[in-house]
């Protein structure tokens, strides 16, 4: 079992993450019910947008950041087999991230920051919200530094050895997050904070949107990489088999690191402040970043097939039935895949330069990202939690059957929620609305779908509560964990002959810098040459 320092650090980070998650699920359910318009007494635009802003910040920033930090510490210590470098810094990072969360949460829940998690200037929030968000990001940089330093030191002590795959992925994610967060950090520090404090009168929303787009796409890969780490490093072993290809896993993580960054303009396809050539360039990159995911799909399915055949599965599809469906990690992987296939299909439509106009900012978009993020990514976060909990607490999971019920209900609930959401988008429903009573016959077609979404939301809320219940109950479990040792999958063939550039951190930073300069250089610099007219702050 790992040292108590790491256990405490990981448990604290994960606990904050999951507490935020459960709170945000209650908000999500309220929003679905409120916006349906079926319950007159619930109607409140101001409460709705307060809730949407809080739900978004808790899910996208708080849950993810704390979860990734906690999981990263566990991964580093167990895969490199050495203690955390500079634990004081790790705790300081945790404290700063938590302080930022609290600072942002107070204006959020009191309705002083209903600007959504995407900020949207020239609508202005309380300065505390922006400062809190900045601290949340700065605190997480401590984690990035610790991950990168631990990897570099391990490499120095182990010349000629490859970085263990889980740590390779985590280091790629730490580098990715450092690069990713620069865009939003520039926006918050140089635009939003001075403007909200009244130091400057006006803001350029075009520049702000461009900087946010820098962050907006790679951030989803920051969330996704831990899920992929579980797919490559936990799932094959949990299924009773081996990882099909260690090398391809490394190339997939490198592909995500390099190509998820210079492509954020697919969020700005419908924006007037960027030219079509830049949008097309980012569009090409967006399609390229599907390749690492397609590779992941192949490698992980092949690993599952190996496991299924080792367990006696015969024929073309026989191996699927022999997989251990009662193992939470394997079940989560299968359900995550089903959602990833559908979500990936939707993503290709979003990424399409011309087709995007039909679904931009419609209900299709939250349908899409709930399927990919709240579906694929979060269901693997659940599985990682069930995997780590006994290894961190030394106590067995309270109930494996309950965990299976929780995963299935999450999958069913998310399908019931996101399918009608996509349809509503195609039927023209805009996203981010607190009610659906437009002066148009079109809205009549929306009503049955709203009802279906409420049912899906109820199933999801029940599943989220069950998740929290299992984790809390496990903390007080008197039964000891049977096997608290780390369980990483072994590859079919040990990786060999990988060129040195695969692990060259400096080289990859240079490549990313060059690509970012190419794709964001002029689009940002143009604002200093254009005659732009800034906007004064507005309320909401």
């Amino acid at each position: 079992m790992i040292d108590s320092q790491t256990r405490t650090l990981t448990l604290w980070n994960l606990s904050v993450a999951f507490a935020a998650f459960v709170v945000a699920c209650f908000l999500g359910f309220y929003q679905i019910v409120e916006r349906s318009g079926l319950f007159e007494f619930l109607k409140s635009e101001s409460l709705y947008f307060t809730s949407v802003s809080t739900h978004g910040v808790l899910m996208a920033f708080v849950l993810t950041t704390f979860f990734i930090m906690g999981f990263g510490y566990y991964t580093a210590v167990t895969s490199l087999k050495r203690p955390i470098w500079n634990p004081a810094l790790a705790w300081a990072g945790f404290a700063v991230t938590l302080l930022g969360t609290v600072m942002a949460a107070i204006p959020l829940v009191s309705g002083k920051a209903s600007v959504l998690y995407t900020f949207y200037p020239p609508i202005q929030a309380s300065p505390w919200f922006y400062i809190g968000a900045a601290l949340l990001v700065v605190g997480s940089w401590a984690w990035c530094v610790i991950m990168v330093v631990m990897t570099i030191r391990w490499k120095k002590d182990n010349p000629g050895h490859l970085i263990p795959l889980p740590m390779f992925a985590t280091t790629a994610n730490a580098l990715l997050w450092l690069w990713t967060s620069v865009g939003v950090a520039l926006e918050v520090v140089f635009q939003l904070i001075p403007w909200s404090l009244g130091w400057v009168d006006a803001i350029d929303p075009g520049l702000a949107r461009t900087l946010f787009a820098w962050t907006l796409h790679p951030i989803v890969y920051f969330w996704l990489i831990p899920a992929y780490t579980a797919l490559y490093c936990f799932v094959p072993k949990a299924a009773g088999g081996y990882l099909f290809s260690d090398e391809m896993a490394r190339f997939a993580f490198l592909g995500l690191l390099v190509f998820s960054l210079p492509i954020g303009f697919h969020h700005l396809y419908m924006d007037p402040e960027q030219g079509s050539g830049w949008k097309l360039l980012h569009g090409v990159g967006t399609f390229l970043v599907t390749v690492p995911t397609l590779v992941t799909g192949f490698t992980v399915l092949a690993s599952l097939e190996i496991a299924g055949r080792l367990r006696g599965g015969k024929g073309l599809f026989g191996w699927i039935g022999t997989l251990p469906w009662s193992n939470p990690m394997v079940l989560a992987a299968i359900l995550a895949f089903l959602m990833l296939i559908l979500g990936g299909f939707g993503g290709i439509i979003n990424a399409s330069y011309a087709l995007n106009a039909m679904i931009h900012n419609t209900a299709w978009v939250p349908g899409h990202f709930h399927l990919i993020f709240a579906g694929t990514t979060i269901i693997l976060y659940f599985a990682i939690a069930y995997h780590l909990w006994p290894r961190l607490t030394g106590k067995a999971l309270y109930s494996r059957n309950m965990a299976l019920v929780q995963l299935w209900t999450w999958f069913v609930g998310m399908t019931m929620l996101s399918t009608p959401w996509h349809v509503l988008g195609l039927l023209g429903q805009p996203r981010r609305i607190s009610e659906v009573t437009y002066n148009s016959l079109l809205t009549l077609a929306w009503q049955p779908y709203e009802l279906f979404m409420i049912m899906g939301g109820a199933v999801l809320l029940g599943s989220a509560i069950l998740f929290g219940y299992i984790l809390v109950k496990s903390l007080g479990n008197t039964v000891a964990a049977t096997d608290p040792e780390p369980a990483y999958a072994q590859p079919v063939h040990p990786p060999r002959g990988l060129p040195a550039w695969v692990e060259n951190i400096k080289l990859w930073n240079v490549v990313i810098a060059a690509l970012m300069l190419l794709s964001f250089g002029w689009p940002i610099v143009q604002f200093f040459f254009l005659k732009t007219y800034d906007s004064i702050p507005w309320g909401y």
């Binding site: 635009e45 101001s46 209903s114 959504l116 949207y120 020239p122 609508i123 350029d204 929303p205 075009g206 290809s245 090398e247 700005l268 396809y269 419908m270 924006d271 007037p272 402040e273 960027q274 030219g275 079509s276 949008k279 097309l280 090409v284 399609f287 390749v291 397609l294 590779v295 192949f298 092949a302 290709i348 399409s352 330069y353 011309a354 995007n356 106009a357 039909m358 931009h360 900012n361 419609t362 039927l427 023209g428 805009p430 981010r432 609305i433 607190s434 009610e435 437009y438 002066n439 063939h493 002959g497 060129p499 254009l530 005659k531 732009t532 007219y533 906007s535 004064i536 507005w538 909401y540």
Partner: protein, 174 residues
């Protein structure tokens, strides 16, 4: 380095798919000229009333000398102005948009008339409407607590009817 032959085949398929999608996008962009709104044109949103183009009297539908139709509209909390316009079907129509206050998005469901309206910038979209009928024009970007009350109306009528009944009243002042 070891890459399984099956995985190599899959890689070719993956790149093939990406190539196919990108090919379709490049053909629609470069051959058919379908681009999202990207005109990078700035305007002072606080002084729209003093601008020639977006002053209140000049908003609405106009026929251009080349026979195309131009629609000039302002987005502001909470509506698109003018609140109701009538347009011809099967005619290239260029929309020009400016915001008077915050960020808005405008979409006519079931059509590709979609653009963000960012304060400080003019958004321009050119499209055609093949099907006559009543279309809502909805704000699809959060712009304040009244966001879901922000809509206007577009009526699309067939070309001949439009030329007979609407072109004169709403059309070219010359």
């Amino acid at each position: 380095m070891h890459i399984d032959p099956l995985e190599k085949k899959w890689l070719y398929i993956a790149f093939g798919m990406v190539g196919l999608f990108l090919g379709a996008i490049f053909i629609s962009a470069l051959v058919s000229g379908i681009h999202p709104p990207s005109n990078v044109e700035t305007i002072d949103s606080a002084r729209l009333h003093l601008s020639e183009e977006f002053a209140e009297d000049n908003l609405g539908v106009r026929i251009q000398p080349d026979g195309t139709v131009r629609v000039t509209m302002v987005a502001g909390r909470y509506g698109f102005f003018p609140r109701h316009i009538t347009l011809p079907a099967d005619t290239p129509i260029t929309f020009r948009w400016a915001s008077i206050d915050v960020l808005h998005g405008v979409h006519m469901p079931m059509t590709n008339m979609s653009t963000m309206v960012v304060p400080g910038y003019v958004a321009e979209v050119t499209t055609q409407f093949p099907k006559p009928g009543d279309y809502p024009m909805l704000c699809n970007e959060y712009c304040g607590t009244g966001h879901d009350f922000m809509w206007s109306k577009v009526t699309v009528v067939d070309k001949q009817t439009w030329a007979r009944r609407h072109a004169k009243t709403e059309g070219d002042p010359s």
